[in-house]
């Protein structure tokens, strides 16, 4: 290893003495170690660390205090590859599979940069980081598996890579399967040991036991897998496929690989369902709208447009459920739309005893059939049929 010229070392060290302000707090430093910072933050923390020996030491101590674990992807060897094959062979007996294709990505910026790019494009709904708290639904297919897919996937995972492995669910394989037998809930939970864990809770009664250790080289993964003999073939399949995912997640949390394992992308589509957002602006806006105007956003809250529903009314409550939207305000005004706001109908809330004339302040329309509203004066009205007939409670 080349030596550093003395004068360079001296200047480097002296830079450390100058200006040690701005120590990152434990949140930032821990997130730095777990590669959870965006590029801008990471650069800032790196810059501070470069000139602060105390923070470098804290970081090193924190990292080192974790129990020793083995690298998985980066140190995969040929021997491990054969172990994987035996593992695949055992799985071949089962009738179901989750197609997981593990791709080796070229070394590039960590996943955080990808997220940043996503943010820049305006058309996106709030992107979800699948590797964190997304609860994706893994559709376990009930049809025949594709042997080829699995072989390719596993071979790639053990190919020696410089520690950068991305895991993606092969959506095409899953989508092709005609019969979707079972849904499992995938959850990233606080770690049992030191790595991020992925546990699977199938919605059926059979519950997969959480692993005792998370980061295992492929060989012992196979052993752990064989030990779980109480599961049936179906959940065995899930275990296998998601153990790979789990190992990556663990490796990622350990800081072994910089690319986060990408959870099944179905999660993304489920959570980023483009839907219309409704609101009432509670303060005068720049456009000069008076307080109490119903607003709608079709781009996940980036921009809002006012929905004119009446001149002399100030709205206080808006609720939506699917395509049904309700807006209520002063003077007992209640509007309803059944097509996400394209067309509106004014509703009169009345029963044989009288009409609602006060200010509506809450609307509960979670059930599109059973609508509940309350007024400022404390009146409570309910409609059991989606707004035709009303009764005061």
């Amino acid at each position: 290893m080349a030596e550093l010229p003395k004068i360079v070392e001296q200047r480097l060290a002296q830079q450390a003495a100058a200006g040690n302000a701005g120590h990152p707090d434990a949140n930032l430093l821990a997130a730095f170690a777990e590669h959870a910072l965006v590029e801008r933050e990471r650069a800032a923390v790196s810059a501070h660390l470069a000139q602060c020996a105390d923070c470098r030491e804290s970081l090193a101590l924190a990292i080192a205090s974790q129990p020793e674990t083995e690298l998985v992807a980066a140190h995969a060897t040929k021997r491990d590859w054969f172990a994987e094959w035996r593992w695949v062979g055992a799985a071949a007996a089962a009738c179901c599979v989750v197609g997981i294709v593990l791709q080796v990505q070229p070394p590039q910026a960590p996943v955080v940069r990808k997220i940043e790019q996503t943010v820049a494009s305006p058309a996106n709904t709030p992107p979800v980081r699948e590797d964190r708290n997304a609860q994706p639904r893994v559709q376990i297919a009930g049809a025949r598996r594709s042997k080829k897919v699995e072989r390719i996937g596993l071979a790639e995972v053990v190919a020696p890579a410089p520690g950068m492995v991305a895991v993606q669910e092969h959506m095409a394989a899953v989508q092709e399967q005609p019969a979707l037998k079972e849904k499992a809930t995938l959850e990233v939970r606080p770690p049992e040991t030191t790595s991020a864990e992925v546990t699977i809770r199938p919605n059926e009664p059979s519950v997969l036991p959480a692993p005792s250790t998370t980061l295992l080289p492929p060989a012992s993964k196979a052993q752990a897998f064989r030990a779980e003999t109480s599961e049936d073939a179906q959940t065995k399949k899930e275990t296998q496929a998601l153990q790979a995912l789990r190992a990556r997640a663990g490796a990622f949390a350990q800081g072994m690989i910089t690319r986060a394992p990408v959870m099944p992308t179905r999660a993304k589509s489920a959570l980023s369902n483009a839907s219309v957002l409704w609101s009432i602006n509670a303060s005068p806006t720049a456009a000069g709208n008076p307080r109490g105007v119903v607003e709608r956003s079709t781009d996940a809250g980036k921009t809002w447009e006012a929905v004119p529903l009446g001149d002399n009314v100030s709205f206080r409550a808006v609720a939506s459920s699917g395509q049904n939207v309700w807006a209520g305000g002063t003077g007992g005004t209640l509007f309803h739309s059944s097509d996400a706001g394209a067309h509106w109908e004014r509703i009169t809330v009345a029963d044989e005893n009288g009409t609602l004339t006060g200010t509506i302040i809450t609307i509960d329309a979670a059930d599109p059939k059973l609508i509940k509203i309350t007024t400022r004066s404390g009146e409570r009205w309910t409609s059991p049929d989606g707004g035709r007939r009303w009764t005061q409670q």
Binding site: E3, I7, A33, L49, A50, D54, R132, T258, G301, D364
Partner: protein, 293 residues
Amino acid sequence: MKQAVESGARVWVRIDNRRIPAYFDDLYAKSGGERYGLGFADFATILEEVARQYLSADATPAEVAELHHSLRLEELALARACANGSEAAWEYFLNRYRQKLYDAAGAIAREESVARELADSLYTDLFGTRQSEDGRRISKLASYTGRGSLEGWLRTVLAQEYVNRYRRQSRLVSFDEKVQTLQQREARTDVPADPRLEPAVDAALRELSAEERLILASYYLDGRTLAEIARMLGVHESTISRRVERITASLRKRIVHGLRERGMDARAAGEALNADVRDLTLDVRARLQEKKT
């Protein structure tokens, strides 16, 4: 006055005339806050606080949502529920984290009595013995923001506390010693240091990226192993090895170039850099030995 306008799926909830985005509901459900005894209003306040802490005031709703979705929600809910005084949460926290806390302290401090003191002290801070004016406990868990894992945060807090208490003093001393030794050595050489050297070196160092300087400092100043640095940055050891080589080589080139720009000829520049390399080697070895004891 809280005026919760609760309703169906895609809507804004109003609390104290603040607009709360609809996805807060989803995140609250995911966080399991209810289980830990953390109410939705508090959870919403926490999310807003975290966004204010890490994003500028003109961040777009999409950026805010992105940040929120990247948080460790369950750990955040647990930590903040503890800080709010929820006994259920505290019990849960103890079951999961107490042992890890003491294990980590042991790994950081090595020496048992120091480790115990470190862990006890943090435990007290986490539980919260200080009291605010209205009699509520002030718990350190209230400062956890969910950017990293709760366990990682605990380790980092321990490590920072350890460094602050036990290591800072000794480092100051040894740094002074180091500077003294370097100065003495300089005084001994026949050729005085050329005044052009320092600015050329500084300029070259400034051109490095933050991460490159971090790698250099970790390797040459702290004496960390390649494996340790690799672990810190989440790359393979061989990557770090290559980077150290490349950075050092390019640094030399840039300094020589800078010196030549400042009027030194190539040979003199090379010599100025090579001066006392043997001393440097000895110094590094001495430091490494120091670290091992």
